[in-house]
């Protein structure tokens, strides 16, 4: 039994190396689960999965590791061992060297595949590459179907056929769990990726990840309006109701919180260093437009320009020189000149930028004036808080004048920061 326990613990270590977060309590659950369900392979697999995998996106990693650790003698031989091995190790080679430093000391008994997350992607590629082989493999799988236990490669090609032809293949039984697991995992990773590490490809992926974020964001904004139906007691109405009952306050009346109208003014820095963050924020806010009474978006480098989103593309009038020297002091001055009708008590100003001002005048006094006439000024900074105030960063000066400064280094932080502003 001890050997099995060690094996499970090693298995969990491998999963952790693969990026799955598993707590101590969960590993105890896993051992208990195996004790209860027994060693029959499929049951053990599902038992371990139920105890360890709390996110379907991690399932691909799990399945891959499970095959390695609890291989049956037949599965170990595998249907296309060379083929698969090649694919997986090729994928491992593709991983960045710094990504998974501890991966080397995972002691996989069967095969070394150190990048399970990448490995999951490889499995998808693997399936794709098998698509061409699916037709000849079909007869084979029909005979294999009689066997009590099927081989690993067979499952892949079966799944493939089921998907290709969409027919009643008896082995379609256990559907490919979370077909898009690898994609979900990728989107989740991009949510946490810092903006300043973005490449143009990352930006495209981030835009894909934005759609569900926008939905969540809208829900959160909307909820804040509906919340708190039972806050303060409305004294007058309670007393009035009590008069009908001889003065006993049987029915309590609460003061309804009125939705306040909010006009939003967004200012986003689209100069080199923070442009991805700014564009994503503008797009996110464009999606939540109906939660506000009016939204005016501006972008800036050294001047102010009105921004609009048309079919996912940023349109600005007048066009800006993206390579000019950022000058936020001047920009904020321009905003102040336009204040009539734009900046009122109902206005919330959201500024996105790194406040790196090329040592030009910061004009924090203008921010103070704006904060005085507006409902609030929120500053979102895509820089690491550790670097705030270093070099030419003027964020410390601005921080004194605005209502809040929130770090928004990645999509997740950005969304959280924006959801809190209202």
């Amino acid at each position: 039994m001890a050997a099995l326990r060690d094996q499970i613990i090693n298995f969990i270590a491998a999963l952790r190396n693969g990026g799955v977060r598993i707590s101590v309590a969960e590993s105890i659950d896993a051992v208990n689960a195996v004790a209860v369900v027994g060693l029959e392979r499929d049951r053990m697999r599902e038992g371990l999965a139920a105890a360890l995998i709390k996110d379907e996106a991690d399932r691909a990693v799990f399945d891959e590791s499970f095959e390695r650790f609890f291989a049956t003698s037949r599965a170990a031989r595998g249907a296309h061992p060379d083929h698969r091995g090649e694919q997986v190790s090729a994928a491992a080679g593709r991983g960045k060297p710094g990504d998974n430093p501890s991966a080397r000391d995972d002691d996989a008994p069967v095969r070394k595949t150190d990048e399970p997350r990448e490995g999951a992607g490889a499995r998808r590629r693997d399936e794709k590459s098998q698509a061409t082989e699916a037709k000849p493999a079909k007869k084979e799988s029909a005979t294999r179907r009689d066997g009590a236990e099927r081989e690993d490669g067979g499952r892949d090609s079966d799944k493939m056929q089921g998907r290709e032809r969409g027919d009643a293949d008896a082995r379609d039984e256990s559907p490919a769990p979370g077909i898009d697991a690898a994609r979900v995992a990728r989107l989740r990773a991009i949510e946490r990726r810092p903006f300043d590490h973005y490449s143009i490809l990352d930006y495209d992926e981030a835009r894909e990840a934005l759609a569900p974020l926008i939905r969540r964001f809208r829900i959160r904004l909307g909820r804040r309006l509906r919340l708190a139906k039972r806050g303060k007691i409305d004294f007058r109405r309670t007393i009035r109701a009590a008069m009908q009952r001889g003065g006993a306050m049987i029915d309590l009346n609460y003061r309804a919180r009125r939705p306040r109208h909010v006009d939003l003014v967004i200012l986003a820095d689209i100069s080199g260093s923070v442009r991805y963050a700014a564009q994503l924020m503008l797009e996110l806010m464009a999606g939540a437009r109906e939660c506000f009474r009016r939204v005016s978006s501006f972008v800036y480098v050294d001047h102010l320009a009105e921004a609009d989103f048309e079919q996912g593309h940023l349109v600005m009038t007048p066009p800006l020189d993206l390579y000019a020297r950022s000058d936020f002091g001047r920009v904020i001055g321009e905003l102040w000149q336009r204040r009539t009708g734009l900046l009122t008590r109902a206005t919330l100003v959201v500024i996105m930028g790194d406040a790196r001002n090329n040592r030009l005048p910061a004009r924090a006094d203008v921010i103070r004036e704006i904060a005085r006439v507006c409902r609030g000024v929120v500053w979102l900074n895509p820089e690491d808080p550790a670097r705030w105030g270093t070099g030419d960063s003027a964020i410390k000066q601005y921080a004194r004048e605005v209502s809040a400064v929130a770090p928004s280094r990645n999509l997740r932080e950005l969304q959280a920061a924006l959801a809190a502003i209202r």
């Binding site: 599902e46 139920a50 379907e56 089921g162 009643a168 939905r215 829900i219 006993a248």
Partner: protein
């Protein structure tokens, strides 16, 4: 009660819940280890049904808490019956009770309005507690569930901590409208239920709509499986498939050709653009062409 894996399989079969090893094992583990089970998956894949079936297997009551935005402790857990307390106080005035006696009285269980969570905890026998669509509730509510899920106890400030006599079997479902917290996930076993494969869906149709011709059932299952892959706004759920199968029976459809598919499509698809999409492809999707 000792529960075996076979009992679960039998129970599921008897409840006409067609499933696979994964679902069986997860349910069994949740009951055997007395852990909450978090079920995720697309809408209409049969998540809520699991709870009903488990209640049936255990021959016990199902207590259901439907989550929604703004759900608070007062609705989920307990609330003091303020009106009743007031009446008691007024009655007490005439008897000349002292404050200590009175307060002891009005903060007792008699004056507590039990909401689903408290009911599940204080129930004398083992019940099934279904916390449905937990993703719809606020994050604060989720945090508040943690005590319940890990220790099966609830703290009521005036009464102290109430501990479950019999740990309820807790089942949570989520459609992933938002990400659930790690803390919650850690405390639960996890199960992902996807739409069934074609073969599995055929079995479901045959079990639940026995009037439908077997050949037609297979074709219907295949058709539904195919349109789920079209990337619709709302892919048809299992319940809708069953409704559709019943509709086919009532319409006296013998063969699933393009016309037959068109007539009853409203049962299956609830969005006009989905409908247009499927109708455009109906001729290629329908198993039998005319």
């Amino acid at each position: 009660m000792e529960i075996t894996h076979e009992q679960i399989s039998d129970g599921l079969r008897r409840a006409k819940y067609v499933t696979n090893e994964r679902v069986e094992t997860a349910i069994f583990l949740a009951l055997a280890l007395e852990k909450p089970l978090l079920i995720e998956g697309p809408a209409g894949a049969g998540k809520t049904e699991v709870a009903k079936v488990v209640a049936e297997i255990l021959h016990t009551e199902l207590i259901r808490l439907q989550c929604y935005e703004g759900l608070d402790e007062a609705r989920a857990l307990y609330e003091w019956n303020y009106q009743k307390q007031l009446l008691r106080m007024q009655a007490g005035e005439h008897q000349g009770l002292r404050w200590e006696e009175l307060s002891e009285h009005i903060f007792s269980r008699d004056f507590l309005l039990e909401r689903p969570l408290l009911r599940a905890i204080t129930s004398a026998s083992r019940v099934v507690l279904l916390i449905d669509e937990i993703d719809k509730a606020d994050e604060e509510f989720e945090a508040f569930l943690l005590e319940l899920l890990s220790d099966f106890q609830i703290s009521v400030p005036e009464l102290g901590t109430l501990k479950a006599h019999e740990r309820p079997a807790v089942i949570l479902t989520s459609n992933r409208a938002r990400e659930l917290s790690e803390a919650l996930r850690r405390r639960c076993l996890h199960l992902f239920i996807d739409f069934p494969g074609t073969e599995q869906e055929r079995k479901i149709i045959e079990l639940k709509v026995p009037d439908l011709d077997a050949k037609l059932a297979a074709e219907a299952a295949r058709f539904v499986g195919a349109i789920r892959k079209l990337g619709l706004r709302k892919p048809p759920s299992i319940a809708e498939t069953l409704d559709w199968a019943r509709a086919l029976v009532r319409l006296g459809v013998r063969e699933l050709d393009t016309d037959a598919v068109r007539t009853a499509l409203g049962v299956l698809l609830k969005h006009e653009d989905d409908r247009a999409k499927v109708e455009a492809k109906a001729s290629s999707l329908a198993p039998r062409k005319r």
